[in-house]
Symmetry: C2
């Protein structure tokens, strides 16, 4: 008999992950995944960067725990530009998921209160559950987290250590927090002494080419998480954290005993690609343009073929949120949809206090326009 830690019991398995096993069948058009489109991953440019990096013996050796100096410089510049003020504390992590996990471990004691959005990014929920946090939820609307609801709860005595938000092009809701709410959230953090974790993997995927001004532009109590996964490639496993110096120092210290350092090779590749501003600008432009066209194709198909569903209008990122005002049970719909050769994630997979039985998350980024239209057609056929 092997007994496992009781802490693990708190971690909800990912329904999405279990689902992806089912949807891996080649005949299924999957709107369920959260993977960047294979045809937009810059494989050849990465191969070029890998070949160049491997001329340097440092690219195969251990590196500093905080990250490759050159990459940290590029990221500090990039974040300073985004935030409109100098950002100097940067720790590179093994994807931004590691940043979330390390943050939770350095900031939280079991029982500490954490605010998450509802529906929630499941990867964040799992991390906070593993840390033994007491979770409170704040709902979202078309302008992102309902910061006024958070303000009311704070006024009523809620005292979170952390407030987590996917501020731009939310996963799964697709919405972006309004500028006013961003300012107000930063002000609340100052007033009530909590930290905001601004989880921002999608910000640069703004279809209009103008990434939203980060919450971190408006205050000092913001920890920002960034990722190369959606703008370069997931396999680099390069993420980063910027924020108050003591937080970054603690994350670096804990990272040392969790994986010593992130790969020197993939960091060198990421540094090369991000520092090549002409290439990176053109690459992002292509990703944005192609993804925006896919989003239009998807929403157009929904309006035409599945008019009973309400559909968020995507302005960036990868996800659209569909809601059926007729009360369609999306969890019950899923097996029928799979029979028709299309997959999505039921809203309930992202629900914390909410139930969201008549919603679903659809990823419009991974399939070409023709397949998206076909997928919506199959969805419509399964829903009638």
């Amino acid at each position: 008999m092997i007994t496992l830690s009781t802490r693990l019991d708190a971690v909800r398995g990912s329904a999405i992950r279990d689902l992806l096993t089912l949807t891996a069948r080649p005949e299924v058009l999957s709107l369920a995944g959260g993977l960047p489109a294979a045809d937009l991953l810059p494989r050849e440019r990465i191969a070029e960067a890998a070949a160049a990096a491997l001329h340097d013996p440092a690219s195969v050796q251990y590196g500093e725990t905080a990250g490759l100096a050159r990459l940290r410089e590029v990221l500090a510049e990039h974040e300073s530009r985004r935030c409109g003020r100098p950002v100097s504390d940067v720790v590179v992590t093994t994807g931004s998921q590691q940043a979330l996990d390390l943050l939770a471990r350095v900031l939280l004691d079991p029982g500490d209160t954490v605010v998450v959005e509802d529906p929630v990014y499941v990867g964040a929920l799992q991390v906070f559950q593993a840390a033994g946090a007491a979770l409170h939820t704040v709902p979202l609307d078309g302008d992102g987290m309902q910061v006024d609801v958070l303000a009311q709860r704070l006024a009523a005595g809620l005292r979170p250590r952390l407030v987590h938000t996917v501020s731009s092009f939310h996963n799964p809701r697709g919405v972006t927090m309004s500028p006013e709410r961003r300012r107000e959230l930063a002000a609340l953090a100052d007033r009530h002494g909590f930290l905001v974790v601004e989880d921002d993997p999608y910000g640069l995927l703004a279809f209009d080419g103008t990434p939203p001004v980060p919450v971190a532009a408006h205050g000092e109590r913001i920890v920002r998480l960034g990722s190369a996964s959606k703008i370069l490639a997931p396999a680099l496993r390069v993420g980063w954290i910027t924020g108050p110096a003591p937080v970054c120092a603690a994350v670096e210290r804990l990272k040392q005993c969790t994986d010593l350092c992130t790969s020197s090779l993939t960091q060198a590749i990421a540094a090369d690609l991000l520092a090549d501003t002409a290439w990176f600008g053109a690459h992002l432009e292509r990703v944005r343009t192609v993804t925006a066209a896919r989003a239009r194709a998807f929403c157009g198909a929904v309006a035409e073929l599945l008019p009973q569903a309400g559909c968020t209008v995507p302005t960036g990122g990868m996800f659209c949120w569909l809601t059926f005002p007729d009360g369609t049970d999306t969890a019950a719909l899923l097996p029928r949809a799979l029979e028709h050769g299309v997959a999505f994630v039921p809203g309930s997979a992202f629900a914390v206090d909410a139930t969201l039985p008549s919603s679903m998350r659809c990823c419009f980024a991974s399939l070409p326009a023709g397949d998206l239209r076909e997928a919506v057609g199959r969805l419509a056929a399964s829903a009638t």
Copy 2:
């Protein structure tokens, strides 16, 4: 004011890491590091494998949390051969340090008893401290962990959840657990219901080409940790864990929320190199031969130039343990040694209950023979 988790207070900073900052000066010959020799890292073969891997779109995408199927197959074969019985449960981790951290988190609740060797691998100590474990130590001698001492403590009522051992070519002590003790440790695990964590990054670096038979060959309650860092390259950040199915399943589940997956690219590189048995055999042979010659050069220089020091006779791995019977205080010696242009790690950096004031760890693997002799000469000059 930002308050950090109280759990972090338990984690001892790495004296070695702080020290490495001091020893990075080019005029210092460092015996302090634990890095594989730069001239033995197969950079060109890695470049070839990277180029080949990057023809496959899967190499830039997210991968399965448990690891790349092809790599897991190669590792399962490799571990089955090592252990002399079929090993099928393998989870790939971001270096074996991540395997240690995940293991501690899935197996331990705060206050659980963990046995470590004294002196200890500091990376393991930090992980168990971060998990809030109650640490008990067992001393080492020339035949590795004194399993008879452990047996006495168990008979007296000690009930550990885990017993951690670097069974082969110990870091920092350089010793290898004898075959009898390996069998006895596996039997104790069965009798008392604890798990052995057999941390084995150096086993394949046996100078005679015959890796010690793993503890895991003798029982079922052994979790084995392996690593590509010392046999291929640290920058791959590829480690692995094999052991009882429920442990591997729990590690995989927690890994999902700590970094989603290890890099598909570096896993593809590792799989390519490990599956190329002709190349891998020749590579290992070269690493072993060159490292064995360095070990001989180092020990010869100690016998000749620093005869007052007792020196373990290395039979593999990277480390030698020097002891000064005259009571030399190695921590006090270090600043003088640095003035003379040589660095080492004082024994106290690895001590848990022991104090080890007159010992030091020297890495013989990173420097060519001439530099090793010069380093020992400087050490002798600083010690007189």
